[in-house]
Subunit: 200 residues, 2 copies
Amino acid sequence: MPQGKPEQVPDDGLTTRQRRNRPLVLVHTGPGKGKSTAAFGLALRAWNQGWPIGVFQFVKSAKWRVGEERALAVLGASGEGGTVAWHKMGDGWSWVRKGGTEEDHAADAREGWAQIKRDLAAQTYRLYVLDEFTYPIKWGWIDVEDVAAALAARPGGQHVVITGRDAHPRLLEVADLVTEMTKVRHPMDAGQKGQKGIEW
Amino acid sequence: MPQGKPEQVPDDGLTTRQRRNRPLVLVHTGPGKGKSTAAFGLALRAWNQGWPIGVFQFVKSAKWRVGEERALAVLGASGEGGTVAWHKMGDGWSWVRKGGTEEDHAADAREGWAQIKRDLAAQTYRLYVLDEFTYPIKWGWIDVEDVAAALAARPGGQHVVITGRDAHPRLLEVADLVTEMTKVRHPMDAGQKGQKGIEW
Protein backbone atom coordinates (compact mmCIF):
# COMPACT_ATOMS: atom_id res chain seq x y z
CA MET A 1 0.00 0.00 0.00
CA PRO A 2 1.61 3.29 -1.03
CA GLN A 3 2.56 5.63 1.75
CA GLY A 4 4.28 8.44 -0.14
CA LYS A 5 7.34 8.21 2.09
CA PRO A 6 10.71 8.24 0.37
CA GLU A 7 13.15 5.60 1.60
CA GLN A 8 15.96 8.13 1.66
CA VAL A 9 16.36 11.82 1.04
CA PRO A 10 19.08 12.67 -1.47
CA ASP A 11 21.64 15.38 -0.92
CA ASP A 12 20.80 17.11 -4.19
CA GLY A 13 20.15 20.63 -2.98
CA LEU A 14 16.51 20.48 -4.11
CA THR A 15 13.62 21.46 -1.90
CA THR A 16 10.92 18.91 -1.17
CA ARG A 17 8.62 20.86 -3.45
CA GLN A 18 11.12 20.80 -6.29
CA ARG A 19 11.62 17.10 -5.88
CA ARG A 20 7.90 16.56 -5.59
CA ASN A 21 7.22 18.27 -8.89
CA ARG A 22 10.05 16.68 -10.82
CA PRO A 23 8.71 15.49 -14.17
CA LEU A 24 9.00 11.75 -14.63
CA VAL A 25 9.70 9.26 -17.36
CA LEU A 26 7.79 6.07 -16.60
CA VAL A 27 8.30 2.79 -18.45
CA HIS A 28 5.80 -0.09 -18.26
CA THR A 29 7.40 -3.17 -19.78
CA GLY A 30 7.50 -6.95 -19.43
CA PRO A 31 5.48 -9.83 -20.92
CA GLY A 32 2.45 -9.48 -18.63
CA LYS A 33 -0.84 -7.68 -19.05
CA GLY A 34 -1.51 -4.21 -17.73
CA LYS A 35 1.27 -2.15 -19.29
CA SER A 36 -1.03 0.01 -21.39
CA THR A 37 -4.06 -0.23 -19.11
CA ALA A 38 -1.95 1.13 -16.25
CA ALA A 39 -0.81 3.99 -18.50
CA PHE A 40 -4.41 4.86 -19.32
CA GLY A 41 -5.30 4.56 -15.64
CA LEU A 42 -2.56 7.12 -15.03
CA ALA A 43 -4.18 9.34 -17.65
CA LEU A 44 -7.30 9.46 -15.44
CA ARG A 45 -5.22 11.08 -12.71
CA ALA A 46 -3.72 13.54 -15.16
CA TRP A 47 -7.18 14.36 -16.48
CA ASN A 48 -8.38 14.99 -12.94
CA GLN A 49 -5.53 17.48 -12.50
CA GLY A 50 -6.72 19.34 -15.57
CA TRP A 51 -3.61 18.46 -17.54
CA PRO A 52 -3.56 18.31 -21.32
CA ILE A 53 -2.87 14.70 -22.31
CA GLY A 54 -1.36 13.48 -25.56
CA VAL A 55 -1.72 9.81 -26.49
CA PHE A 56 0.44 8.41 -29.29
CA GLN A 57 -0.28 4.84 -30.38
CA PHE A 58 2.67 3.28 -32.15
CA VAL A 59 1.21 -0.06 -33.15
CA LYS A 60 -1.70 -0.29 -35.50
CA SER A 61 -4.48 -2.34 -34.01
CA ALA A 62 -8.13 -1.85 -34.68
CA LYS A 63 -9.72 -2.86 -31.43
CA TRP A 64 -7.24 -3.11 -28.59
CA ARG A 65 -7.61 0.42 -27.21
CA VAL A 66 -11.06 1.38 -28.43
CA GLY A 67 -12.53 1.45 -24.91
CA GLU A 68 -9.77 3.63 -23.55
CA GLU A 69 -9.93 5.94 -26.55
CA ARG A 70 -13.68 6.47 -26.27
CA ALA A 71 -13.54 6.94 -22.50
CA LEU A 72 -10.74 9.49 -22.74
CA ALA A 73 -12.55 11.28 -25.56
CA VAL A 74 -15.66 11.63 -23.37
CA LEU A 75 -13.54 12.80 -20.43
CA GLY A 76 -11.56 15.25 -22.56
CA ALA A 77 -14.75 16.73 -23.97
CA SER A 78 -16.50 16.94 -20.60
CA GLY A 79 -14.88 20.24 -19.67
CA GLU A 80 -14.39 18.91 -16.13
CA GLY A 81 -10.73 17.98 -16.43
CA GLY A 82 -7.84 18.05 -18.85
CA THR A 83 -8.03 17.78 -22.61
CA VAL A 84 -7.11 14.63 -24.51
CA ALA A 85 -5.50 14.42 -27.97
CA TRP A 86 -5.31 10.90 -29.39
CA HIS A 87 -2.95 10.15 -32.26
CA LYS A 88 -2.63 6.84 -34.08
CA MET A 89 0.04 5.49 -36.31
CA GLY A 90 -1.14 3.44 -39.25
CA ASP A 91 -4.57 4.98 -39.45
CA GLY A 92 -2.47 8.02 -40.19
CA TRP A 93 -1.23 10.44 -37.58
CA SER A 94 -3.74 13.23 -37.31
CA TRP A 95 -1.25 15.84 -38.54
CA VAL A 96 -0.18 13.82 -41.59
CA ARG A 97 -2.05 13.93 -44.88
CA LYS A 98 -1.63 10.57 -46.55
CA GLY A 99 -1.23 10.30 -50.29
CA GLY A 100 -3.05 7.01 -50.40
CA THR A 101 0.03 5.05 -51.42
CA GLU A 102 1.40 2.07 -49.57
CA GLU A 103 2.44 2.79 -46.05
CA ASP A 104 5.96 2.80 -44.76
CA HIS A 105 5.59 1.82 -41.13
CA ALA A 106 9.10 2.88 -40.17
CA ALA A 107 8.60 6.31 -41.73
CA ASP A 108 5.23 6.56 -39.98
CA ALA A 109 6.85 5.80 -36.65
CA ARG A 110 9.60 8.34 -37.25
CA GLU A 111 7.04 10.97 -38.19
CA GLY A 112 5.17 10.25 -34.96
CA TRP A 113 8.35 10.60 -32.94
CA ALA A 114 9.26 13.84 -34.75
CA GLN A 115 5.88 15.26 -33.74
CA ILE A 116 6.40 14.18 -30.12
CA LYS A 117 9.72 16.01 -30.11
CA ARG A 118 8.00 19.14 -31.43
CA ASP A 119 5.31 18.79 -28.75
CA LEU A 120 7.86 18.29 -25.99
CA ALA A 121 9.76 21.39 -27.11
CA ALA A 122 6.50 23.37 -27.24
CA GLN A 123 5.21 21.86 -23.96
CA THR A 124 1.97 20.95 -25.71
CA TYR A 125 0.95 18.33 -23.13
CA ARG A 126 1.58 17.66 -19.48
CA LEU A 127 1.27 13.86 -19.80
CA TYR A 128 2.42 11.90 -22.85
CA VAL A 129 1.28 8.31 -23.26
CA LEU A 130 3.60 6.71 -25.82
CA ASP A 131 1.74 3.44 -26.23
CA GLU A 132 3.84 0.52 -27.51
CA PHE A 133 6.67 2.91 -28.24
CA THR A 134 9.22 0.25 -27.26
CA TYR A 135 8.62 -1.62 -30.54
CA PRO A 136 9.71 0.99 -33.12
CA ILE A 137 12.82 1.48 -30.97
CA LYS A 138 13.40 -2.28 -30.77
CA TRP A 139 12.92 -2.62 -34.52
CA GLY A 140 15.51 0.08 -35.18
CA TRP A 141 13.04 2.51 -36.70
CA ILE A 142 13.71 5.17 -34.05
CA ASP A 143 17.14 5.86 -32.55
CA VAL A 144 17.07 5.27 -28.81
CA GLU A 145 19.83 7.85 -28.24
CA ASP A 146 17.67 10.46 -29.92
CA VAL A 147 14.82 9.47 -27.60
CA ALA A 148 17.07 9.64 -24.53
CA ALA A 149 18.37 13.07 -25.53
CA ALA A 150 14.92 14.48 -26.26
CA LEU A 151 13.55 13.20 -22.95
CA ALA A 152 16.52 14.60 -21.03
CA ALA A 153 16.17 18.00 -22.71
CA ARG A 154 12.41 18.37 -22.36
CA PRO A 155 11.45 21.61 -20.60
CA GLY A 156 8.90 22.22 -17.86
CA GLY A 157 6.90 19.64 -15.97
CA GLN A 158 6.10 17.15 -18.71
CA HIS A 159 5.58 13.52 -17.67
CA VAL A 160 6.10 10.76 -20.21
CA VAL A 161 4.89 7.17 -19.89
CA ILE A 162 6.16 4.60 -22.38
CA THR A 163 4.65 1.13 -22.72
CA GLY A 164 5.57 -2.08 -24.50
CA ARG A 165 7.55 -5.28 -24.13
CA ASP A 166 11.30 -5.53 -24.43
CA ALA A 167 12.11 -1.95 -23.51
CA HIS A 168 15.58 -1.02 -24.74
CA PRO A 169 18.17 -0.99 -21.91
CA ARG A 170 18.95 2.65 -22.67
CA LEU A 171 15.29 3.49 -22.16
CA LEU A 172 15.38 1.83 -18.74
CA GLU A 173 18.45 3.90 -17.89
CA VAL A 174 16.75 7.22 -18.59
CA ALA A 175 13.49 6.25 -16.87
CA ASP A 176 12.68 7.44 -13.37
CA LEU A 177 10.26 4.58 -12.81
CA VAL A 178 10.32 1.19 -14.48
CA THR A 179 7.61 -1.35 -13.74
CA GLU A 180 7.80 -4.81 -15.21
CA MET A 181 4.50 -6.61 -15.70
CA THR A 182 5.13 -10.33 -15.34
CA LYS A 183 2.72 -12.91 -16.59
CA VAL A 184 2.02 -15.36 -13.79
CA ARG A 185 -0.98 -17.00 -15.38
CA HIS A 186 -2.90 -16.04 -18.46
CA PRO A 187 -6.21 -17.45 -19.69
CA MET A 188 -4.93 -17.53 -23.28
CA ASP A 189 -2.53 -20.22 -22.15
CA ALA A 190 -5.58 -22.37 -21.46
CA GLY A 191 -7.23 -21.70 -24.80
CA GLN A 192 -9.13 -18.61 -23.64
CA LYS A 193 -9.56 -16.12 -26.46
CA GLY A 194 -9.52 -12.40 -26.00
CA GLN A 195 -12.93 -10.97 -25.18
CA LYS A 196 -14.67 -7.64 -25.23
CA GLY A 197 -14.51 -5.55 -22.10
CA ILE A 198 -11.34 -7.31 -21.02
CA GLU A 199 -8.94 -7.23 -23.95
CA TRP A 200 -10.42 -4.20 -25.67
CA MET B 1 1.95 -7.14 -28.59
CA PRO B 2 -1.32 -9.02 -28.05
CA GLN B 3 -2.50 -11.13 -30.93
CA GLY B 4 -5.59 -12.77 -29.43
CA LYS B 5 -4.32 -16.21 -30.41
CA PRO B 6 -4.47 -18.93 -27.78
CA GLU B 7 -1.32 -20.99 -27.43
CA GLN B 8 -3.36 -24.16 -27.20
CA VAL B 9 -7.01 -25.07 -27.49
CA PRO B 10 -8.31 -27.13 -24.57
CA ASP B 11 -10.39 -30.25 -25.01
CA ASP B 12 -13.15 -28.94 -22.74
CA GLY B 13 -16.16 -29.37 -25.01
CA LEU B 14 -16.79 -25.61 -25.07
CA THR B 15 -17.36 -23.66 -28.26
CA THR B 16 -15.04 -20.80 -29.09
CA ARG B 17 -17.86 -18.43 -28.25
CA GLN B 18 -18.41 -20.03 -24.87
CA ARG B 19 -14.72 -19.86 -24.09
CA ARG B 20 -14.54 -16.32 -25.38
CA ASN B 21 -17.28 -15.17 -23.03
CA ARG B 22 -16.07 -17.02 -19.97
CA PRO B 23 -16.12 -14.65 -17.02
CA LEU B 24 -12.69 -14.06 -15.53
CA VAL B 25 -11.11 -13.52 -12.15
CA LEU B 26 -8.07 -11.28 -12.60
CA VAL B 27 -5.48 -10.63 -9.90
CA HIS B 28 -2.98 -7.76 -10.08
CA THR B 29 -0.36 -8.26 -7.40
CA GLY B 30 3.35 -7.71 -6.70
CA PRO B 31 5.38 -4.85 -5.21
CA GLY B 32 5.40 -2.65 -8.32
CA LYS B 33 3.21 0.23 -9.41
CA GLY B 34 0.26 -0.16 -11.73
CA LYS B 35 -1.85 -2.80 -9.98
CA SER B 36 -4.79 -0.50 -9.35
CA THR B 37 -4.20 1.82 -12.29
CA ALA B 38 -4.38 -1.19 -14.62
CA ALA B 39 -7.64 -2.26 -12.96
CA PHE B 40 -9.11 1.20 -13.54
CA GLY B 41 -7.81 1.13 -17.10
CA LEU B 42 -9.74 -2.12 -17.50
CA ALA B 43 -12.81 -0.33 -16.17
CA LEU B 44 -12.59 2.02 -19.17
CA ARG B 45 -13.06 -0.97 -21.47
CA ALA B 46 -15.97 -2.25 -19.41
CA TRP B 47 -17.53 1.21 -19.46
CA ASN B 48 -17.17 1.30 -23.24
CA GLN B 49 -19.07 -2.00 -23.42
CA GLY B 50 -21.91 -0.42 -21.46
CA TRP B 51 -21.33 -2.70 -18.48
CA PRO B 52 -22.35 -1.72 -14.96
CA ILE B 53 -19.17 -1.41 -12.90
CA GLY B 54 -18.83 -1.76 -9.15
CA VAL B 55 -15.70 -0.45 -7.44
CA PHE B 56 -15.00 -1.48 -3.86
CA GLN B 57 -12.04 0.18 -2.14
CA PHE B 58 -10.79 -1.83 0.79
CA VAL B 59 -8.12 0.46 2.15
CA LYS B 60 -8.93 3.88 3.47
CA SER B 61 -6.85 6.56 1.80
CA ALA B 62 -7.94 10.07 1.15
CA LYS B 63 -6.15 10.92 -2.05
CA TRP B 64 -4.75 7.89 -3.84
CA ARG B 65 -7.71 7.19 -6.14
CA VAL B 66 -9.38 10.57 -6.33
CA GLY B 67 -8.52 11.01 -10.01
CA GLU B 68 -9.86 7.62 -10.99
CA GLU B 69 -12.97 8.10 -8.89
CA ARG B 70 -13.81 11.45 -10.43
CA ALA B 71 -13.09 10.26 -13.97
CA LEU B 72 -15.25 7.17 -13.55
CA ALA B 73 -18.01 9.26 -11.99
CA VAL B 74 -18.02 11.55 -15.03
CA LEU B 75 -17.99 8.56 -17.38
CA GLY B 76 -20.73 6.76 -15.47
CA ALA B 77 -22.93 9.85 -15.53
CA SER B 78 -22.29 10.59 -19.22
CA GLY B 79 -24.93 8.16 -20.43
CA GLU B 80 -22.53 7.04 -23.18
CA GLY B 81 -21.32 3.85 -21.54
CA GLY B 82 -21.84 1.74 -18.46
CA THR B 83 -22.75 2.95 -15.00
CA VAL B 84 -20.26 3.20 -12.16
CA ALA B 85 -20.93 2.62 -8.46
CA TRP B 86 -18.02 3.49 -6.17
CA HIS B 87 -17.92 2.16 -2.63
CA LYS B 88 -15.32 3.00 -0.01
CA MET B 89 -14.46 1.31 3.22
CA GLY B 90 -13.54 3.58 6.08
CA ASP B 91 -15.42 6.59 4.81
CA GLY B 92 -18.27 4.20 5.36
CA TRP B 93 -19.58 1.87 2.72
CA SER B 94 -22.41 3.66 1.02
CA TRP B 95 -24.97 1.18 2.27
CA VAL B 96 -23.84 1.31 5.90
CA ARG B 97 -25.13 3.92 8.32
CA LYS B 98 -22.44 4.61 10.88
CA GLY B 99 -23.28 5.25 14.51
CA GLY B 100 -20.37 7.61 14.91
CA THR B 101 -18.49 5.34 17.27
CA GLU B 102 -14.97 4.09 16.70
CA GLU B 103 -14.57 2.05 13.59
CA ASP B 104 -13.86 -1.62 13.46
CA HIS B 105 -11.86 -1.99 10.27
CA ALA B 106 -12.19 -5.76 10.18
CA ALA B 107 -15.95 -5.55 10.57
CA ASP B 108 -16.02 -2.87 7.87
CA ALA B 109 -14.10 -5.11 5.53
CA ARG B 110 -16.36 -8.05 6.26
CA GLU B 111 -19.43 -5.90 5.64
CA GLY B 112 -17.96 -4.83 2.29
CA TRP B 113 -17.31 -8.43 1.33
CA ALA B 114 -20.83 -9.45 2.41
CA GLN B 115 -22.23 -6.79 0.08
CA ILE B 116 -20.06 -8.02 -2.78
CA LYS B 117 -21.41 -11.52 -2.24
CA ARG B 118 -24.96 -10.16 -2.37
CA ASP B 119 -24.12 -8.26 -5.56
CA LEU B 120 -22.50 -11.29 -7.18
CA ALA B 121 -25.56 -13.39 -6.40
CA ALA B 122 -27.83 -10.67 -7.78
CA GLN B 123 -25.54 -10.01 -10.79
CA THR B 124 -25.58 -6.31 -9.94
CA TYR B 125 -22.42 -5.51 -11.93
CA ARG B 126 -20.60 -6.94 -14.91
CA LEU B 127 -17.14 -5.81 -13.71
CA TYR B 128 -16.09 -5.72 -10.06
CA VAL B 129 -12.95 -3.83 -9.10
CA LEU B 130 -11.98 -5.05 -5.62
CA ASP B 131 -9.23 -2.54 -4.96
CA GLU B 132 -6.62 -3.61 -2.39
CA PHE B 133 -8.79 -6.57 -1.48
CA THR B 134 -5.69 -8.70 -0.91
CA TYR B 135 -5.01 -6.92 2.39
CA PRO B 136 -8.14 -7.79 4.42
CA ILE B 137 -7.58 -11.39 3.29
CA LYS B 138 -3.92 -11.24 4.27
CA TRP B 139 -4.80 -9.73 7.63
CA GLY B 140 -7.26 -12.56 8.32
CA TRP B 141 -10.31 -10.30 8.32
CA ILE B 142 -11.92 -12.14 5.41
CA ASP B 143 -11.75 -15.91 4.91
CA VAL B 144 -10.04 -16.70 1.62
CA GLU B 145 -11.99 -19.96 1.27
CA ASP B 146 -15.22 -18.00 1.46
CA VAL B 147 -13.88 -15.72 -1.27
CA ALA B 148 -12.85 -18.68 -3.43
CA ALA B 149 -16.26 -20.31 -3.01
CA ALA B 150 -18.21 -17.15 -3.78
CA LEU B 151 -16.12 -16.46 -6.89
CA ALA B 152 -16.53 -20.04 -8.11
CA ALA B 153 -20.29 -19.94 -7.57
CA ARG B 154 -20.96 -16.55 -9.13
CA PRO B 155 -23.57 -16.73 -11.89
CA GLY B 156 -23.60 -15.14 -15.33
CA GLY B 157 -20.80 -13.25 -17.02
CA GLN B 158 -19.37 -11.31 -14.10
CA HIS B 159 -15.68 -10.38 -14.26
CA VAL B 160 -13.79 -9.66 -11.05
CA VAL B 161 -10.43 -7.91 -10.77
CA ILE B 162 -8.64 -7.95 -7.43
CA THR B 163 -5.63 -5.75 -6.68
CA GLY B 164 -3.04 -5.52 -3.93
CA ARG B 165 0.32 -6.86 -2.84
CA ASP B 166 0.88 -10.28 -1.34
CA ALA B 167 -2.13 -11.99 -2.86
CA HIS B 168 -3.01 -15.13 -0.91
CA PRO B 169 -1.86 -18.31 -2.71
CA ARG B 170 -5.45 -19.57 -2.72
CA LEU B 171 -6.50 -16.41 -4.54
CA LEU B 172 -3.87 -17.05 -7.20
CA GLU B 173 -5.23 -20.59 -7.58
CA VAL B 174 -8.76 -19.46 -8.35
CA ALA B 175 -7.67 -16.63 -10.66
CA ASP B 176 -7.81 -17.01 -14.42
CA LEU B 177 -5.22 -14.30 -14.91
CA VAL B 178 -2.51 -13.26 -12.50
CA THR B 179 -0.19 -10.39 -13.33
CA GLU B 180 2.65 -9.50 -11.03
CA MET B 181 3.84 -5.92 -11.13
CA THR B 182 7.54 -5.86 -10.30
CA LYS B 183 9.34 -2.74 -9.21
CA VAL B 184 12.43 -2.33 -11.34
CA ARG B 185 13.15 1.25 -10.39
CA HIS B 186 11.09 3.67 -8.41
CA PRO B 187 11.65 7.41 -7.95
CA MET B 188 10.78 7.17 -4.26
CA ASP B 189 13.97 5.14 -3.85
CA ALA B 190 15.87 8.28 -4.85
CA GLY B 191 14.02 10.58 -2.48
CA GLN B 192 11.26 11.47 -4.92
CA LYS B 193 7.99 12.11 -3.12
CA GLY B 194 4.60 11.18 -4.49
CA GLN B 195 3.11 13.90 -6.67
CA LYS B 196 -0.26 14.91 -8.02
CA GLY B 197 -1.26 13.52 -11.38
CA ILE B 198 1.09 10.59 -10.93
CA GLU B 199 0.39 9.08 -7.52
CA TRP B 200 -3.17 10.35 -7.16
